[in-house]
């Protein structure tokens, strides 16, 4: 029986080897938990022919080998997995502290964000570092977390012209989202600070510090603390 409040699944073909299964509309922590619960279940006992399972805000992308399986089979499998699960099955999550040096040379758009919000810089920092943010999804570049839970006062539109290179570790805001650039890449988010942590280290035993479903908290640090942590990170 359908669990109360669960919306029906919407399936979309993404070419001849991809299937998108949508669990709801928009950006919603309950829908996202359902996505992660099903992803976890599928990963525990993957059906034959599934090459990748990618959870997103509100959908799963399944990449499959069409010579081994077909979308109809996968849809039935997902429906079965979904019907037996609740949000609590999304699995355990970790809380990860990310030290951030706000403003100054590390946060070139801090003034824009403060002005848009009508707040002082100190209050922007206080409000940005207050919540436990949910990692809805990781993507765009290796380890880029799409975070939900930003204080409404801090909503700021993207830059009109994206930058060609946003430095590694930059913390930014785009409308109702906040996130971190793990590698230097082009980007249009408003940059308010930078973390000295290495968020993507391909040769480290675990290349990433977090995954979708984990919670992130930003801890404000001084430029001196930034330098000290950065030196330690670069040595390891």
């Amino acid at each position: 029986m359908e669990k109360k409040g669960k919306s029906p699944l919407v399936c979309r073909l993404a070419g001849d080897t991809g299937l998108i299964v949508e669990f709801g509309e928009g950006i919603d922590p309950v829908v996202n938990a359902r996505v992660r619960a099903v992803a976890a279940a599928v990963k525990t006992r993957p059906p034959q022919g599934v090459i990748e399972i990618i959870p997103t805000y509100r959908s799963l992308l399944l990449i499959y080998d069409p010579l081994t399986t077909l979308p109809e089979k996968l849809i039935r499998f997902i429906e079965q997995a979904d019907s037996g699960l609740g949000d609590e099955d999304a699995g355990p999550f970790r809380r990860v502290d990310i030290p951030v040096c706000y403003g100054g040379e590390f946060g070139p758009d801090m003034d824009t964000v403060a002005k848009t919000a009508g707040l002082g810089i100190e209050e922007v920092i206080q409000r940005h570092s207050a919540p436990d943010y949910l990692i809805y999804m990781v993507g765009f570049t290796p380890g880029f977390p799409f975070l939900g839970g930003l204080d409404e006062k801090l909503f700021t539109p993207r830059l009109k012209t994206p930058r060609m290179a946003v430095p590694q570790g930059s913390v930014g805001i785009a409308n109702n989202q906040t996130g971190i650039y793990p590698i230097t890449s082009p980007g249009g988010w408003q940059i308010i600070g930078r973390t000295p942590l290495t968020l993507f280290a391909p040769h480290r035993e675990n290349p990433f510090l977090y995954q979708a479903g984990d919670r992130i908290r930003f801890i404000p640090i001084s430029p001196e603390e930034y330098t000290a942590i950065k030196e330690k990170e670069d040595r390891s």
Binding site: R12, A14, I51, R58, P66, G139, P142
Partner: protein, 315 residues
């Protein structure tokens, strides 16, 4: 002596294999070769297993000094290859010896060529693949395209007992105006007249065409009235035809993971090489096909490659 010394790197030359699977959920795109057929044949012609790393060469070929006796084969785009100034065949094995100078020219038809060496190019395996992902600075040779004076090693392998060559009648001809088959969706419902436009009009490849995606130019494809201009960000598949705010399509390729624009259709995987073998100024037309047709083509291609391998071995 190292197996290969890069005298000049060519237009854009990277080390690739089939791709890096299983890490898109953490933002690592699949990367890998864009023309799987040419890649598979390059390895087969030098006696390598299927998924051995090769050089993917774009538009302009490199020059190399050979430091070891090896078999070598160049497939894909027609660029011309010479050893010590003597013109050689593409789609055929070439025996090279220490001191040989290999020179690959400018593209004549197609866009990307594949250069395989017996034993494969030896680079560290990162997250299950040898493919270069330049955006993340990982894989291949130091996570970047090859540069002048790079020194590369190849694996140990026995040389071919008989030379191998693809019969000329089986060499693919890369069109500068290919018809590309695509399956509507994942967001075909965001469009009405746009679907007709996509499948009826001709689109030109712009200069913004690389391993991330091919930007096209032609009749604008508007989103249906009342639909939002963007979608909740979701992962993209290679071949996805994304329609951004300027209403000009972009075919997404292998160095993308997440996008927030609606995708009107997705190029079938078997036709991605045809896209990747076009260059700026070439024109594309799209033909709508259904899923069963696309799966039939995948099976047909697989059988065809197996038949070709058997035929070459029997020669």
């Amino acid at each position: 002596m190292t197996a290969l010394r890069i005298i000049s790197p060519g237009g854009y030359t990277t080390i690739q294999d089939r791709g890096r699977f299983g890490f898109q959920h953490v933002g690592i795109p699949v990367s890998g070769v864009l023309d799987a057929f040419a890649f598979t044949l390059a390895n087969f012609l030098v006696g390598n297993p299927d998924n051995t790393p090769v050089m993917e060469i774009t538009v302009m070929g490199p020059s190399l000094e050979i430091g070891k006796e090896m078999d070598m084969a160049l497939t894909g785009a027609q660029m011309g290859i010479s050893v010590n100034g003597v013109l050689m065949e593409q789609w055929a094995s070439i025996r090279v010896k220490p001191g040989d100078l290999v020179s690959i020219g400018q593209v004549r038809t197609g866009c990307r060529a594949y250069l395989a060496f017996s034993g494969g190019i030896r680079v560290p395996e990162i997250m299950g693949s040898f493919s270069t992902y330049t955006g993340g600075k990982i894989g291949g040779f130091k996570g970047r395209p090859l540069q002048k004076e790079d020194l590369l090693e190849t694996g140990d392998a026995s040389l071919l007992i008989r030379p191998r060559a693809l019969p000329p009648s089986l060499v693919p001809v890369y069109s500068s105006e290919p018809v590309i088959r695509a399956i509507p969706g994942p967001q075909a419902d965001y469009f009405d007249t746009g679907l007709n436009t996509l499948f009826q009009c001709e689109y030109t490849v712009t200069v913004k065409a690389d391993r991330m995606g091919y930007r096209l130019q032609g009749q604008p494809i508007p989103i249906k009235k009342g639909m939002p201009k963007s979608i909740v960000s979701e992962p993209s598949m290679p071949g996805g035809i994304q329609i951004p705010a300027d209403e000009q399509p972009i075919i997404l390729l292998v160095e993308q993971t997440v996008g927030g624009y609606a995708k009107i259709a997705t190029v079938i995987s078997s036709d991605l090489p045809l896209v990747a073998q076009t260059t700026p100024g070439d024109t594309l037309r799209f033909e709508a096909v259904d899923l069963a047709t696309a799966h039939g083509v995948i099976l047909e291609h697989k059988n065809r490659i197996n038949a070709i391998k058997q035929r070459i071995e029997a020669l």
